[in-house]
Symmetry: C2
Amino acid sequence: MEINIQRPIMGSVEAISEELNRLFAAKKILVLNLISSPGAGKTTLLEKTLSDLRSEFRMGVIEGDLKTDNDARRVAATGAAAYQINTDGGCHLDSKMVRDVLNHFDLDNLDILFIENVGNLVCPVEFPCGEDYKIALLSLPEGDDKPEKYPLLFNLAGVMLLNKMDLLPYVDFDVERAEKFARALNSDLEIFRISCRNGTGLSAWYDWLRKARLAKL
Amino acid sequence: MEINIQRPIMGSVEAISEELNRLFAAKKILVLNLISSPGAGKTTLLEKTLSDLRSEFRMGVIEGDLKTDNDARRVAATGAAAYQINTDGGCHLDSKMVRDVLNHFDLDNLDILFIENVGNLVCPVEFPCGEDYKIALLSLPEGDDKPEKYPLLFNLAGVMLLNKMDLLPYVDFDVERAEKFARALNSDLEIFRISCRNGTGLSAWYDWLRKARLAKL
């Protein structure tokens, strides 16, 4: 006997995600779901963003990891509200997990909520978390073939951040090639070349955040 | 109603994996399951290994990717037998997929079979593929905290290859810290510091392969 349980599970995850979309729209909160390979730089991007824009926005972070609360402690050090979900081996976050931790945030005093997903280019893409946009981080040492090999993320993302641009001289990465593949998958994709280490490109990313938050008002 | 289908699915995957173990033991084939984040360097490691040891061993590769046959074409260029599995979005390989493609290999003329899993530090760890060892690749740009944050792989692996050692001057990676965490998880773990770019450490990896293959005879 074969039982198809994928559909009812996803139905529930999607229904809760849509409820979250309505809640976040009512509260005018921009919600971003950060997805990348392990070690592409999600937490460091958040540390920079939370720190650089702290006088402009009230920001919160939901951190997803299999183990440890290292990342929540790192981002909380910037002064942002942060809550860590440990999936205990689970490969992604979903809308139910996000719903269940929202009581840790003051939604009436929040402009932007970042969800840092589990480091994984595959599974998190399929589970909505109530976000306005998925943000794909791709770091240069991972190789320029990743949009081609893991197309769904780049197809569904609103933004691709090409991170660790400072390593360009030391790795084989053809920026044009990666961007071309990603745009072929998704002509609406916004792409920013950034380095959290030396600050390259971050102001363009911040301008995108400002525009996206404005659109929620 | 909640249906627990995880156990019967895993039961079948594990039973097939044990059958594969027996088959590979009878054929004296060393089987290695390579697991890492996307872009940690699995395919490049295989290209180097297949090329450097081609006169010593008869080697084959099963490539796992969501999309494309790029990797199978890369390793086949070394002269090794290669077969590409496209999971079409699936996040890991398992013993059934390996079983179903074995007819593409001449098992009576094979010494080492490499299985290059889907780039993912989470899901592939839980699905055995009939391997003798899981080989964990961790590349320096991913960060020294990965054994702590993704413990299961480093707990179950026989070998951890610290790859991209050539990037050490350009990234924040504490080699001792990563090794200490990994050894705390797994005191039997063999660790090699390597660079496929400049060849660092590869001879120690090749010696390990020789010993592991010898143990199958």
